[in-house]
Symmetry: C2
Subunit: 122 residues, 2 copies
DNA sequence: TTCCTGCATCGACAGACGTCGAATCAGAGG
DNA sequence: CCTCTGATTCGACGTCTGTCGATGCAGGAA
């Protein structure tokens, strides 16, 4: 089941895309908002959110397309959504033989989590 | 400027909308994905994200519409987006005299942040 | 009352988006 | 070679969405 060869993600110091400060810290400017909104938008579709969750929670940190295709839409649509998630920088893909494996891009969760960090009340 | 009469939010124990488990914990089902995606979608527009950030980072935790209307779109459009954010449960509004004040709905940041919590690798 | 200002709603429009079936590409295996 | 299977791309369709100007509504001030 679980791939025992999976190691802890590198998670290098720079691996974190420093998109933006927390939403509560200061107003985002137009450029920051554009970038951050792109990530939120990618997760703003139920099917994509399920796909992302399926990949993120899958054993070994990766999932074959064939493993996550039961979300109620056709297979081309699944592929379309996975592409969107990849373009948004949320997933990465790798072909190994017949199958294509997707995994969560490193540091994405941390970056988005930081965006939603509540500030301490002054 | 900042309203000194503003008190700490109640933040009742139930105030936290327990939308969903972290995306990395288990796959979201269709229902959970629908609800969570609605929030992400609301933040998936650059203008809305800026408006949310403007409110979230404003002194006193609230902002008058007139204070956050410089985002490059017309006034009706700003109103439209604020309504969307309210419908998504991310903002609340209150009219006081001539002005309408928006503030971040309690616990929303925490709830979304928890969704993006990375699981500890087993 | 009348006027003015801040904000919301309405109606319309162009563009973006999600979905599908059909076709195409990429490997594995015979 | 050919064939089969997994996955992507293509083309088309209907729907949703962001934007605007015009209009309407609520409160304060004269």
């Amino acid at each position: 089941m679980s791939n025992s060869s999976v190691t802890v993600l590198p998670l290098a110091d720079e691996a974190v895309a420093p998109c933006c400060p927390p939403l509560t810290e200061r107003p985002l400017d137009a450029e920051e908002a554009e970038r951050a909104a792109q990530m939120f938008k990618a997760l703003g579709d139920p099917v994509r959110l399920r796909l992302f969750s399926l990949v993120a929670s899958h054993e070994g940190g990766e999932a074959c397309v064939c493993d996550i295709s039961d979300v109620g839409v056709s297979q081309p649509t699944v592929s379309h959504h996975l592409k969107k998630l990849k373009e948004a920088g949320l997933l990465t893909s790798e072909r190994r033989g017949t199958w294509v494996y997707y995994r969560v891009a490193p540091s994405v969760l941390a970056a988005m989590g930081r965006l939603l960090t509540a500030r301490a009340r002054t």
